[in-house]
Symmetry: C2
Subunit: 87 residues, 2 copies
């Protein structure tokens, strides 16, 4: 069993209205040091695989088919590590 | 200028219906190796600060006041690094 952490972010060229709204909300809270906010999604997948490579491929496939919108988002399989099975 | 990456995740004890829905969608797409999905948010903040420590504090404050729901979410300021200013 493996655990993969995946990040899905908007492409840099894509406008981020949610990020803009968060940044102006922080501004109105007096946190003016925050100049910009880019939002994204983070998924932690538990994967039944025989190797780390197989788990990474399963995570990549999940991103390509469902988790990331290929038109406007990039994804990155950040880490894959084995889970110790508790006997 | 600094760039901070922040993760906001649901506490382990909190149910994740969105994750459950994603997992069953992947199942119906034949990707049965994915046993569970936990969803979260990822923010990339550009911060006007004089030191890395000051930037980290600003990112933490933004999480405490707006980005993370203290009742059901945990947050982590994953990385803070200086941005080279292009002259």
């Amino acid at each position: 069993m493996y655990r993969a952490t995946v990040h899905v972010t908007l492409r840099p060229s894509i406008l981020d209205p949610q990020g803009k709204a968060i940044q102006s909300a922080l501004d109105s809270l007096g946190q003016t040091a925050i100049e910009s906010v880019r939002t994204g999604k983070r998924f932690v997948l538990t994967i039944n695989a025989d190797s780390e490579q197989e788990a990474r491929e399963a995570a990549t496939k999940a991103c390509e088919t469902l988790l990331a919108n290929a038109v406007m988002e990039d994804f990155e399989v950040e880490s894959v590590h084995a889970l110790e099975l508790v006997a």
